[in-house]
Amino acid sequence: MSDTLLEVKNLKKYFKTPRGLLHAVDDVSFTIDRGKTLGVVGESGCGKSTTGRVILRLIEPTSGSVKLAGVDIGALSRRELRAHRKNMPMIFQDPFSSLDPRQTVMQAISEPIINNKIATGKYEVEELTVELMRTVGLAERLINTYPHELDGGRRQRIGIARALSMNPKFIVCDEPVSALDVSIQAQVLNLLKQLQRERDLTYMFITHDLAVVNHFADDIVVMYLGQLVEKAPAEELFENPLHPYTKALLSAIPVPQTYDRPERILLKGEISSPIEPKDRCRFAKRCPFALEECWAKCPSLQEARPGHFVACHHYDKI
């Protein structure tokens, strides 16, 4: 048996909106093995960020269960949850808004250390902070600077140091590089990879950038309007996508080369929002291959090949 660290089962999150119930996360299940990276891919509004936050209970789930290293996160009391947070930090998307503008680098990185009593005593805390700064590649002299004085890449390194400071085994990364420039993006991705190797970290890596997730993840789940539409090992997914949405998504990646350009599958229309969805395939409206069946019933995930799951009525005919 594989060594499962995170187990998400039938997770749901519905939001009340004036226009009805929004099914932001609708019956999502997956597992992540220890030391692996799960890439969660989808376009804006597909519920991928909400999924990350519901798993961490930054947003309370409507139903479903989340087990992290055997601990049922949903069953924790508020106090227990707060104490447990050190095991499941998050790296945020926007390094410009995820750091308190009034905290220096020192304060930002030492905050989780002090709060979770990772180290006690002024000098011990400081020593650990400086060590963490070194780990994530921040020069010691920046210790008293404020976030607005630093560029995006360095700010994101602060965010990473904050997450690392608590010695977690599992980190949720919510679009950690999408606000960064290309060359800085690569620096941060390499750092995250190196940390994973050194510390045996498990990542849940949320992103809209398929090229990045292909490089970074071991397994990938593709989300569309709150549901999983495909789930497979990264290599398999890229070589052999089954869901028409995944195929379109892959073909839409802008490839930085002039030869071997993929044939584009252009989708009609745009992503809507899953408010009071009817029982039908949520992708049917944009799907070039939609049949009657797709409008009649919502497909469930089925194992098309070993380890490769897809939610499409007729993936085998496309």
Binding site: L56, L58, R82, A83, H84, R85, K86, P89, M90, F92, Q93, D94, S97, S98, L99, D100, P101, R102, T104, M106, E111, P112, N115, N116, K122, Y123, E126, E127, V130, E140, R141, I143, N144, Y146, H148, E149, G159, R162, A163, M166
Partner: protein, 298 residues
């Protein structure tokens, strides 16, 4: 053990040019307007403290001499005298004591109640917010002066009750300003980030939310000090302020109104005193806000 600690110097302090307070002071010093404001406020505070050293209350402030009434400003009486023949300059300086005390303590009172209340409304939201805000709306719909009258006549006329009356009427606006500021900060990613590392709600409010609302609140507070002085004068005018011979600025202003045609200096000088203090506080408040905001650092 002790020795070892003494030897070690904090790494952060090696790179720090100044301490946190030192940095604020350093920034403030660069702001000339704020420094002038600070100097004037400090001067007023000194006057307020040493007023009874400078003047004898019974003879110079309260004691009247009708032979000297309504003398225009001259060398002996730089601000002239009032209809009781009392020197306005002396009364104005002595009045600093009353006005500043009333203004500052009433604002302090309203801040102590309004700030946590507004912060809780903004942060907790939900039913608590709904009920508290509706109650505050009711409070606000009663004119401040009317509420002052009610409170003072209910509790009895005294300086302390005056402070309570004025402070009470300022709770609602302060609370709603705080609430609005907290609401914007509450939804930022850094607050979520703090929650994600297990910081308690209380610490989040104290460490992350309130400091980031400070700029809005600080400006509001300096404005409130001005309002308090004016409110105190209104109540004094109605006879509900500080007891009569006390030279509170508002009282001086309203007493002078009777003579505004033939002795306008009786209203001009108290009015100017109020204006100068309020303006200085405002400039100082703005300067402090900028000095405490790291984003203004280079």
């Amino acid at each position: 053990m002790f020795k070892k600690k003494e030897k070690r110097q904090s790494i952060a302090s090696q790179y720090a040019k100044r301490t946190k307070l030192g940095e604020i002071w350093y920034r403030l010093k660069k702001n000339k307007g704020a420094m002038v404001g600070l100097a004037i406020v400090a001067l007023f505070v000194l006057i307020a403290i040493f007023a009874d050293v400078m003047f004898d209350y019974d003879t110079q402030i309260a004691g009247y001499n009708l032979r000297n009434k309504l003398i225009k400003p001259c060398l002996e009486h730089p601000f002239g005298t009032d209809e009781m023949g009392r020197d306005l300059f002396a009364r104005l300086l002595y009045g600093t004591r009353f006005s500043m005390a009333i203004a500052f303590s009433s604002v302090l009172f309203s801040v102590c109640v309004g700030l946590p209340l507004g912060a809780m409304c903004g942060y907790l939201g939900g039913k608590f917010d709904l009920i508290a805000m509706r109650l505050l709306d009711i409070l606000r719909s009663i004119p401040g002066i009317l509420m002052g009258i009610v409170i003072v006549s209910w509790l009895g006329q005294s300086t302390v009750n005056l402070v309570i009356a004025i402070g009470f009427s300022m709770i609602a606006p302060l609370a709603s300003t705080t609430r609005a500021a907290v609401l914007t900060v509450r939804n930022t990613e850094y607050v979520e980030s703090a929650r994600s590392i297990g910081i308690s709600e209380w610490r989040i409010v104290m460490v992350h939310i309130i400091p980031n609302c400070l700029s809005t609140i600080l400006v509001q507070i300096t404005l409130r000090v001005a309002n308090a002085i004016i409110a105190a004068s209104s109540l004094s005018f109605l006879g509900l302020g500080v007891p009569i011979p006390s030279p509170e600025w508002g009282a001086l202003l309203s007493a002078g109104r009777a003579h505004i045609r033939n002795a306008s200096y009786l209203t001009i000088f108290p009015g100017m005193a109020i204006m100068v203090l309020v303006l200085s506080l405002n400039v100082l408040g703005d300067g402090l806000r900028d000095a405490m905001d790291p984003k203004m650092y280079k």
